[in-house]
């Protein structure tokens, strides 16, 4: 039987016709339902699945029992057509052998190809290069060529390859690779295929018959094999026979023929939109329209009769969301990458943690929800202990700024105990000796064990899609691990790696794996362009008909630029164009409703051009299309999700609620906060809201200040406080500083902190000089870091003011000086920070120092009291006291301000929010600091608001 072609036509979907043809023309048995002798070859897996469905339906409609054909994708076909001569290397064998071949080549030789090779231990680096080069190799093999063939053929055909050395290196790699495989008694699949063809050893089992179903793009290798077989082959072509010239005898398209054809497209089948995301809206419009049409013809349209073609996978998100809003279920054929599944993310986080042993890596790992479930699972060690572990870790990170985790935990013993518990639970997950290098197969079981521990009790029920997807991800990971476990340690290509590298490698090997998107019930399918021709949904919308997407093109290449490819008869731009044109023709003709969408710009506003396929039309249409595509004014508003908003914003600033008991005590520093913004005061002092992060990597002003205070407190409470020798003071401060820093940040602190410590030391040094001078002048520290509280009466009601006075100095002649240490970078004069305004209009915005006068009454201090800052700024010559010279009137004024604030607080007067402070305080979002038209929002919040 020779090779037969059959034209399915394209006035209807190809697959149902193919299914009918198989039964009617090729089926065996009485009813034609025995197709077991057939090998049905399809371009992609999904079409195969659908073909089987159609065959089942046909058979059942006839009451027959289907004996299904063998269904394969075109890529798998060659292996059915020859007997390999030995063991074929599996994917991992081949990859590692190839890497080995590359690495073992002398560096000088490799330099012609890879002037910057990865380091010897950089397995991922080599892996990536090997993948690239093997892709080139596969590409050549699909055209029955090897690395060695290219320079030879080019020389024959007069093509200047520019850089024959590179090809020579590739050839050497190939040889080394083959040698390695041979020594392992393995063969290479691509080579096997070529050998099978050249030695004419292709054969088809006697009782078999091949049916090519719409494979206009079959590669050279497969085609050559089929030609060698020569018979028992039927090619079903999805075009009418008037296009017979467009295909060869195997049904493979002739690109030259198709490049000259026009796409037959009505104006209403085409939509141009502004930006990529707008395409989603056009999809919905098309669906709504299709539904209209179908209803009119008395057919109800169901979701699975609709397909959306994606010119770019990234369009899936917006399209899906719109469909979702229209209550239309959808399913993406591309599924989701296994590498982004929960267990894969878990492995990656584990690997990062093992590799770096950093606190931030731990923090990331702990945020994996499955880790949280794992941690909460065992109730034995007091659930309470780790209930708030994220917060615990955040606070730890903020307090101790630890980068690397060391064996010592810092700070509060209670907290340490809890952190240790937590850390131990995580450590039990890690493989033993994870940092040592071991042969790859050694790691598989321990990695699997970690996953087992985490997912031990996670239910994986069949009817719950999410759980099934998790199960599938685990299975795929387990498969990779198993393959790696079976890799032979004795194999010279076996890499010696750490656990985290083994994980990285496992995840790399998952890059092409996906987890199918399951959906119960009918759903709209989101498909890639190449899947569309054999899709049989009557309603089709294709997005992304833009140049570069459909058709794609290759416009620069390191090895084989397009024109070289053409001369080597490889797949080239022209062929891709011809193919896509043929496919699009078939697509458009074969279904009742088609809508093509192209966008004028990316979402970032960068201009796009229309697909050349859309311009394969007659002159008049061409001109019209060009005019309509390139003529829009681009000031379109960004599209929104098609939801009907209520029209009124209810995201407001929470209005303060009146507490049963107003505050009756306040620290001296809080007054400033109230004056700056009563609302922020409310958030901080009434609600006590805190902000938390784990991003700090150096001492912030707060912790810089508090370290300074600790050191100076130690000094102020030591015997040296009356010391007049600056050297002694310095050495005291130095060691106090070192102790404080060490207990706060540990021995292995970050370098940044070491440098900050030196900066602080510099300031303390200058402080020592000033201090010595003061003491020499007769000033003595009388109190240091003194906690004080005093109760005053305002409007007959008592109110407590509290505060910690940094230090009080006494001088026999001059009396007392109350100091507040200031450790900001710039030095301040007290009046500068306490009051604002010009001349006589100066008003109090801070009351800290004046209120110290109130507090000092508790110390029964008599005599004059001076107030001031003891600045320790970055400029050395500015270190020292800065005294205020407020008059009695000023103080009276301050007291009035104090009382006004107290009254306001008693009245719970916390509205409206003031303008935002210059520095972030964690309340920006609550206070809507960045909001447009904030004043209106504040007013609206007052009117409608009310905190719950």
């Amino acid at each position: 039987m020779p090779i037969t072609r059959h034209f399915l036509g394209w006035d209807g979907p190809a697959l149902p016709r193919a299914a009918a043809y198989l039964r009617d023309q090729l089926g065996q048995g009485d009813d034609g339902s025995d197709l077991s002798h057939l090998i049905a070859v399809l371009p992609a897996q999904r079409a195969g699945r659908r073909l089987l469905e159609l065959l089942v339906v046909n058979a059942q409609a006839q009451g027959a029992a289907l004996n299904p054909p063998q269904i394969v994708t075109a890529g798998r076909l060659p292996e059915l057509l020859y007997q390999p001569q030995g063991r074929q290397a599996g994917d991992i064998d081949a990859q590692l052998a190839f890497i080995d071949a590359m690495r073992n080549l002398p560096t000088e030789t490799m330099a012609d190809l890879l002037p910057h090779p990865p380091g010897p231990d950089d397995l991922p680096g080599w892996w990536a290069y090997a993948t690239q080069l093997r892709r080139l190799r596969d590409d050549l093999a699909a055209h029955r060529m090897t690395f060695a063939d290219v320079p030879r053929l080019c020389a024959d055909r007069g093509i200047d390859l520019r850089g024959e050395q590179r090809w020579a290196v590739l050839e050497q790699i190939e040889q080394a690779y083959q040698d390695t495989l041979r020594s392992l008694q393995l063969t290479d699949r691509e080579s096997d295929r070529i050998v099978a063809i050249t030695s004419k050893r292709c054969a088809l089992d006697e009782d078999k018959h091949i049916v090519l179903i719409a494979t206009p793009d079959l590669n050279d290798t497969a085609a050559a094999m089929l030609r060698l077989i020569g018979g028992r082959i039927t090619s079903l072509i999805m075009a009418p026979d008037q296009h017979a010239d467009g295909f060869d005898e195997l049904g493979i398209l002739r690109a030259e023929y198709w490049a000259k054809q026009h796409i037959d497209l009505q104006a209403d089948q085409l939509a141009f939109v502004g930006r990529n995301s707008d395409q989603a809206g056009a999809v919905i419009d098309a669906v709504a329209e299709a539904r209209q049409t179908f209803t009119q013809t008395d057919n109800n349209l169901s979701a699975d009769q609709i397909t959306v073609g994606l010119g770019d996978e990234r369009f899936a998100g917006p399209v899906r969301r719109r469909l979702d809003l229209a209550d239309i279920p959808c399913r993406s054929a591309a599924g989701s990458p296994t590498a982004q599944s929960r267990p894969a993310l878990l492995l990656r986080a584990l690997s990062r943690f093992m590799e770096s042993h950093r606190l931030d890596a731990l923090a990331e790992l702990l945020r994996h929800p499955d880790i949280q479930t794992y941690l909460q699972r065992d109730h034995d060690d007091a659930q309470q202990t780790i209930d708030d572990w994220l917060t615990l870790l955040d606070k730890y990170a903020t307090d101790h700024l630890q980068g690397q985790l060391t064996s010592t935990w810092l700070g509060d013993p209670d907290r340490i105990a809890r952190l240790k518990t937590l850390h131990n639970k995580i450590t039990t997950l890690l493989p033993e000796h994870f940092a040592t290098r071991k042969p790859l197969p050694k790691w598989s079981e321990t990695i699997a064990a970690a996953l087992k521990t985490v997912y031990a009790d996670v239910p994986l029920r069949e009817h719950i899609p999410q759980e099934q997807q998790l199960a599938l991800a685990l299975e795929q990971i387990a498969d990779r691990l198993r393959e790696q476990a079976e890799f032979k340690e004795t194999n010279p290509t076996c890499p010696n790696i750490t656990a985290s590298q083994a994980i990285a490698l496992t995840l790399r090997r998952l890059v092409d794996s996906i987890i199918p998107d399951e959906h119960d019930g009918p759903a709209v399918e989101l498909l890639g362009y190449l899947e569309l021709p054999l899709d049989d949904a009557p309603v089709l919308t294709i997005t992304g008909l833009n140049e570069g997407l459909i058709p794609s093109s290759r416009n620069a290449d390191a090895f084989l630029p397009d024109s070289v490819r053409s001369k080597l008869s490889m797949n080239d731009n022209a062929r891709r164009f011809g193919r896509d044109l043929m496919l699009l023709s078939a697509i458009i003709h074969s279904r009742p409703f088609v809508r093509l969408i192209a966008s004028r710009r990316t979402d970032e506003g960068d201009p796009l051009t229309p697909s050349r396929l859309l311009l394969a039309c007659d002159d008049t249409t061409l001109v019209k299309r060009i005019q309509s595509f390139f003529s829009d004014d681009e000031t379109s508003t960004p599209p929104t999700l098609p939801i009907k908003p209520a029209g009124k914003n209810r995201f407001l600033i929470p209005k303060p609620i009146i507490a049963p008991e107003p505050l009756d005590k306040l620290s001296v520093t809080a007054f400033r906060a109230y004056i700056a913004c009563p609302y922020r005061f409310y958030l901080r002092y009434v609600l006590k809201l805190a902000s938390l992060s784990d991003q700090a990597i150096e001492m912030d002003p707060m912790s810089f200040g508090s370290i300074t205070h600790t050191v100076l407190q130690a000094f102020g409470q030591s015997d040296l406080k009356h010391e007049t020798n600056e050297t002694n003071i310095k050495s005291f401060l130095n060691s106090a500083l070192d102790n404080t820093i060490e207990s706060q940040f540990g021995e292995d602190r970050r370098s940044v902190i070491r440098i900050q410590t030196e900066q602080l030391r510099e300031r303390l040094d200058a402080f020592a000089e000033q201090q010595a001078e003061l003491t020499q002048d007769g000033w003595h520290i009388q109190y240091a870091e003194q906690e004080l509280a005093t109760t005053i009466t305002v409007d007959g009601t008592p109110f407590t003011i509290k505060g910690k006075v940094d230090r009080i100095d006494y001088h026999e002649q001059h009396g007392y000086r109350v100091f507040d240490y200031k450790t900001g970078d710039t030095d301040h004069k007290p009046d500068q920070t306490h009051r604002t305004g010009r001349g006589d209009e100066r008003i109090w915005v801070d009351l800290q120092l004046p209120l110290y006068r109130d507090l000092c009454k508790e110390l029964k201090i008599t005599g004059p009291i001076e107030l001031g800052y003891f600045n320790l700024p970055k400029k050395r010559d500015r270190v020292g006291p800065s005294l205020a010279d407020w008059s009695d009137d000023d103080f009276t004024d301050a007291t009035q301000t104090r009382d006004t604030v107290i009254r306001a607080i008693r009245d719970q007067h916390f509205w409206p929010p003031n303008e935002a402070p210059g520095l972030p305080d964690g309340y920006e979002r609550i206070c809507a600091d960045h909001a447009m038209q904030r004043d209106e929002l504040i007013a609206a919040s007052f009117k409608q608001g009310g905190a719950s």
């Binding site: 198993r482 620069a556 390139f630 508003t637 960004p638 440098i755 309340y923 447009m932």
Partner: protein, 1072 residues
């Protein structure tokens, strides 16, 4: 197409042409016209490389060319116009059509792009040579991940730095101050200096300072003694004594900076002959000279060391930064240029050929737009192309360079305007190849009058007296502008209102620790009011552009103008965070990451989102659970879908603006790296850092002058004119000429020390000039944006702190504009018109902007699709009977990869492959060992021979045992299925699978009597025997049975199904 001889074509303009095109003079038009002409002439669009400054501009060129052609095919008048004035060559209808076909047919091969875009293409095809990461993610410097990367690099650098060295270096950068923040300080240093390092990484350039005259210890000792001896020579004068004493003290303590700046030494250095009216005698001078030389040397040596230390810091940073980027496969746009510029030349001869080969086409026509912004590195890459083209006298190659040295405002990003002047020489262009365009198709004559007034006398502007040379140089590139349009217009220079402004005392030492004073700005609110007046003016003001110098001022102005309720937007859009709804969503995400952040919890709790998230209280344990649930949803649904679900759920609480912003947030989520998915706070950071389009295209747009490049507005308000020009670069750079490579680099130091060394002075002056040129360009760009009206608002003048006279204006735009335009006596109160020109009641001639009607999508009504289960339903769930076993799966089973389980699994696979070839054991020939081995290798190629052989032996034994003999014999069966696959529809599912072995028994009529089904199992029996296994496999076997009834006319009771546990040789019946 009617061929056109090159001679004909080039009769109107030379093939190599350089155009100096003033603002608004129609650059894009010229570029497009040239493109069209090349198309007409050579018909090879793929050989034209056109680079533009933005992707948008690239799109404009292409759009214009194709639209011209398309229109010309349907409109003869348009075609005529195109022929006569645009390309000045004959152009038939068919020509146009042919060109259009050609152009659109080659759409995939057109090179009209930004320089970056073109470089990216080149770089990708040289990925190995350039050491690009194998699968790079190309990101912009502003991306948060890059910030993190730099931080990590700094940390790594510090970790292996020597502590005292680092401290010293930092102090040097901070004028010996002990600033708290180290990371910030280092980040700033790197920001200020890294680009210089990248251009000149070799230490050589950083080691050029050679201090001379340094004394050794002995000499120094002697010199000091000599100075001390000079005491006797002093005149009897208090000042002298004091100054001398100060010098001596400084010399003794080695405070050389003090030494040279104080007293006599200072006077001697500056060449004065006398001090305090007493002559400085030769003897005294002689006593000073050695020490002066020494102190100079010491100070210069310090600079030299600082410079080297800076280089060292940068080198170490660069090492870490580069390796981190590599490890994470991050490629910055700037990397491309640098790598190309550095590595390509190393490839040696034939480079251009190599590039053409890999790009698959020769570039024979080059069109370079906005050339004044080209950087040296970019030009290094482009030059060979340009030179090759310019070198040939053939008329079939051409080069068009368009630019405007007056609009060179990207110097800070590496743009070198001088290249534009130089290219003329470099490419040997004859004079007729240089054209100037200064007729503006944009601005009104009134606006241009003001422009002319300011820029035509720049050289004599009093504000620029210290920089007269530079100003004169700028002025030379300026020709008086004329307007091609007859437009009314209005220009003013006016003062805002007096008062305190926050940025008045902005200095470098701005304090990051705590807000010092509560301040009230008056300037910006005033501007906002002025903008309001303009916006509400009778007759309209059209589009209003408010231009400032800094991003900070832009955001403050947006805020102020927005506060007045006017439709305002920023450059390249705003931030999603300006919506309170987005703020709540971000709080929720932040809370998911940091459940201890009670501020976020409170924020969410008091918002409509609380209900959606089931957040009920602030109790930590509860919040913790909610946080985990959010993180889980984010992982399983993805960020974008999760946010979309939330948005939908809170729709009832949104206004249109909130919806738009949330939609944009969702779009940002689509671009969020899945690698960061475990940390929602990273998404918060991303959302906060990205700029997105404004919800409504606003009539008022506030932006920096840089952002306004290439834009135009009907009305322009210049709002931040009072800043004095800053001239304090971290590094001083010396080049032989502006377009030469960096010759030397020095750390910048104060004026006094700079004055000690000529090269420092020279470098500093050159840099000041460069910087000033840029600033003047920015003013020019700003003033040439308006079509009709220009309002320049400066702050009123102030008194000095003493209050006795006017404070100096410094070198600022305000000063320049005042000098050029105003001759009015100024009041201190402000609100004064200093200059005006044109008609205050100018009539607006442009398009009236429609009041911003949000053109939002109509809400989607649910589209009711049929849910009926039609027979035509596609893609039924597929199940395989073997997946049916044992109910719930267990992770521990899925993950069991122990050798035992793998072995069992492999063996199971083998057994099935082998049994497929075992016919009726009592009749058919059984496969020999070779066949079995062959089958094994094909099925599981990775298994070794020994293992296979042992299994073969085992299998042989199995076949020989009594059960096999019995079970596998014909026993009267009429038909045998082996590994027969099947597919049937059962209920809503497609059941697919494979029967291991089925024997069919028919009666004489061919009717099926019974069917025997055998399923091979390799599991071993446990302690409880076979019963649990039967239970385990029952669902699978029952599916087989049901399937059989569908395939064969047989009753389920007539099917006998058995499991054969080959390991234990146990045969078990499974009842139907």
């Amino acid at each position: 197409m009617n061929p056109l001889s090159p001679l004909q074509a080039w009769q109107h303009e030379p093939p190599h042409l350089l155009i100096r095109a003033s603002a608004g003079s129609g650059k894009t038009y010229r570029l497009s016209a040239r493109y069209l002409m090349l198309l007409r002439l050579f018909d090879q669009p793929e050989s034209i490389l056109a680079t533009t400054f933005t992707r948008k501009a690239a799109g404009e060129v292409l759009g214009r060319v194709v639209t011209w052609l398309a229109n010309a095919t349907v409109d003869d008048a348009a075609r005529e116009a195109l022929a006569i004035s645009t390309i000045r060559a004959e152009l038939s209808h068919d020509d146009c059509l042919a060109m259009l076909r050609r152009l659109t047919g080659q759409m995939h091969r057109l090179s009209i792009s930004t320089i970056d875009g073109f470089f990216n293409r080149v770089a990708q095809s040289f990925a190995h040579e350039l050491d690009l990461p194998p699968e790079p993610s190309l990101v912009d410097e502003s991306h948060p991940s890059v910030k993190q990367l730099r931080q990590d690099a700094v940390e790594a650098m510090l970790a292996d730095a020597d502590l005292p060295d680092m401290v010293t270096l930092l102090r040097q950068f901070h004028h010996d101050h002990a600033a708290r923040s180290v990371t910030e300080a280092i980040d700033k240093i790197i920001n200020d200096t890294y680009e210089v390092y990248r251009e000149a990484p070799q230490q050589e350039a950083w080691a050029k300072l050679q201090p001379t005259g340094k004394l050794d210890d002995d000499e120094l000792q002697k010199a000091i003694e000599k100075l001390q001896d000079a005491a006797a020579l002093l005149p009897d004068n208090g000042h002298w004594k004091k100054a001398y004493a100060a010098n001596c003290a400084a010399a003794l303590t080695g405070q050389w900076e003090v030494f040279i700046s104080k007293g006599l030494a200072g006077s001697i250095i500056s060449g004065k002959q006398s001090f305090q009216r007493h002559e400085i005698t030769a003897d005294i001078q002689a006593a000073y000279v050695p020490l002066i030389a020494h102190s100079k040397a010491m100070l210069i040596e310090r600079v030299a060391l600082q410079t080297l230390a800076t280089h060292d810091l940068l080198r170490r940073f660069d090492t870490h930064y580069t390796s981190l980027r590599r490890r994470q496969s991050i490629l910055l746009f700037s990397d491309l240029t640098h790598k190309l510029a550095r590595e390509l030349p190393l490839l040696g001869d034939g480079l251009a050929e190599d590039i053409y080969f890999r790009l698959d086409g020769r570039v024979t026509h080059l069109l370079l737009d906005e050339f004044q912004d080209t950087s040296l590195a970019q030009w290094d890459v482009l030059r060979p192309f340009a030179q090759e083209i310019a070198a040939t006298a053939d008329s079939d190659r051409s080069l068009l360079v368009v630019g405007d040295a007056k609009q060179a405002i990207y110097g800070w990003r590496g743009g070198v305007a001088e290249l534009f002047d130089q290219i003329e020489e470099e490419l040997n262009l004859p004079p007729e190849s240089v054209q100037s365009l200064s007729l503006s198709y944009r601005s009104s004559g009134v606006v241009l009058d003001a422009v002319n007034k300011v820029f035509s006398k720049l050289g004599s502007n009093a504000a620029l007296d210290k920089d007269a040379q530079t100003a004169a140089r700028w002025q030379r590139s300026f020709d008086d502008h004329a307007s091609a349009k007859d437009l009314p217009g209005h220009v003013t220079l006016e003062t805002s209102v007096a008062g305190y402004n926050a940025d008045d005392d902005d200095d470098d030492e701005s304090n990051d620790d705590e807000p010092v004073t509560i301040t009230h700005n008056v300037h910006e609110p005033y501007i906002a009011q002025r903008v309001k007046q303009l916006y509400e003016r009778k007759g309209g003001a059209g589009s209003i552009g408010v231009l400032v110098s800094t991003n900070k001022a832009a955001s403050r102005l947006i805020f102020e103008i927005g506060k007045l309720g006017l439709p305002v937007s920023g450059e390249g859009g705003g931030s999603v965070t300006d919506s309170p709804a987005v703020a709540v969503v971000l709080s929720a995400l932040y809370m998911a990451d940091h459940p201890g952040d009670t501020a976020s919890v409170f924020h969410v709790l008091n918002s409509p989102l609380a209900e959606v998230l089931d957040l009920e209280s602030m109790k930590p344990a509860h919040v913790q659970q909610i946080a985990m649930r959010i993180r889980q949803t984010l992982l399983t649904q993805g960020y974008a879908q999760t946010l979309a679900d939330w948005t939908r759920a809170v729709a009832g609480s949104l206004d249109q603006r909130g919806l738009t912003r949330l939609t944009q947030l969702i779009e940002l989520a689509d671009k969020f790296e899945p690698a960061d998915a475990l940390r929602p706070s990273r998404f918060v950071a991303l959302a906060e850092s990205q700029r997105v389009a404004e919800p409504n295209p606003a009539a008022i747009r506030v932006m920096t002058i840089h952002g306004a490049k290439g834009l135009e507005f009907d009305t322009v308000v210049l709002a931040e004119l009072d800043r004095t020009f800053r001239d304090n670069p971290a590094l001083l750079i010396e080049r032989e000429h502006p377009t030469a490579p960096i010759d030397s680099v020095y750390r910048n130091v104060n004026k006094e020390v700079r004055a000690l060394d000529d090269s420092l002075v020279k470098a500093s002056e050159a840099q000041r000039a460069t910087r000033l040129m840029d600033d003047l360009c920015a003013l020019y760009v700003a003033m040439t944006r308006p079509r009709q009206a220009l309002y320049m608002i400066v702050k009123p003048r102030k008194l000095t702190p003493k209050g006795d006279k006017l404070a100096s204006l410094g070198l600022s735009y305000a000063a320049i504009l005042r000098d050029a335009l105003s001759n009015v006596e100024e009041t201190l109160d402000g609100k004064q018109i200093l200059y005006q020109h044109g008609d205050p009641d100018w009539s607006f001639q442009g398009k009236v902007q429609s009041a911003s009607t949000p053109t939002t999508d109509q809400p989607i009504a649910p589209i009711a699709l049929s849910t009926s289960q039609s027979a035509s339903r596609r893609f039924w769930p597929t199940v395989s009977p073997s997946a049916r076993v044992g109910g719930v799966k267990l992770a521990s089973d899925l993950l069991d990869i122990s050798p035992d389980s793998t072995g069992a699994k492999n063996y199971g696979t083998l057994i099935h492959a082998w049994f497929e070839h075992v016919g009726f054991i009592d009749e058919d020939e059984q496969p020999d060992d070779a066949t079995l081995r062959q089958l094994a290798i094909r099925t599981l190629p990775h298994l070794d021979d020994a293992w296979i052989d042992s299994r073969i032996d085992w299998f042989r034994n199995l076949l020989n045992n009594p059960t096999a003999k019995q079970l596998l014999a014909r026993n009267g069966a009429t038909e045998l299925w082996r590994e027969r696959s099947f597919a049937v529809q059962v209920g809503k599912e497609l059941v697919r699978g494979c029967f291991d072995r089925v024997s069919i028994y028919r009666d004489d009529n061919g009717q099926i009597k019974r069917v025997d089904l055998i399923d091979f199992k390799t599991d071993r029996l446990g302690p409880d025997g076979v019963a649990p296994l039967i239970d385990h496999y029952r669902p699978q076997i029952q599916t087989y049975q049901r399937t059989l009834t569908k395939l064969l006319p047989v009753d389920i009771d007539a099917i006998r199904a058995r499991l054969w546990f080959v390991g234990d040789d146990v045969l078990a019946d499974v009842e139907a």
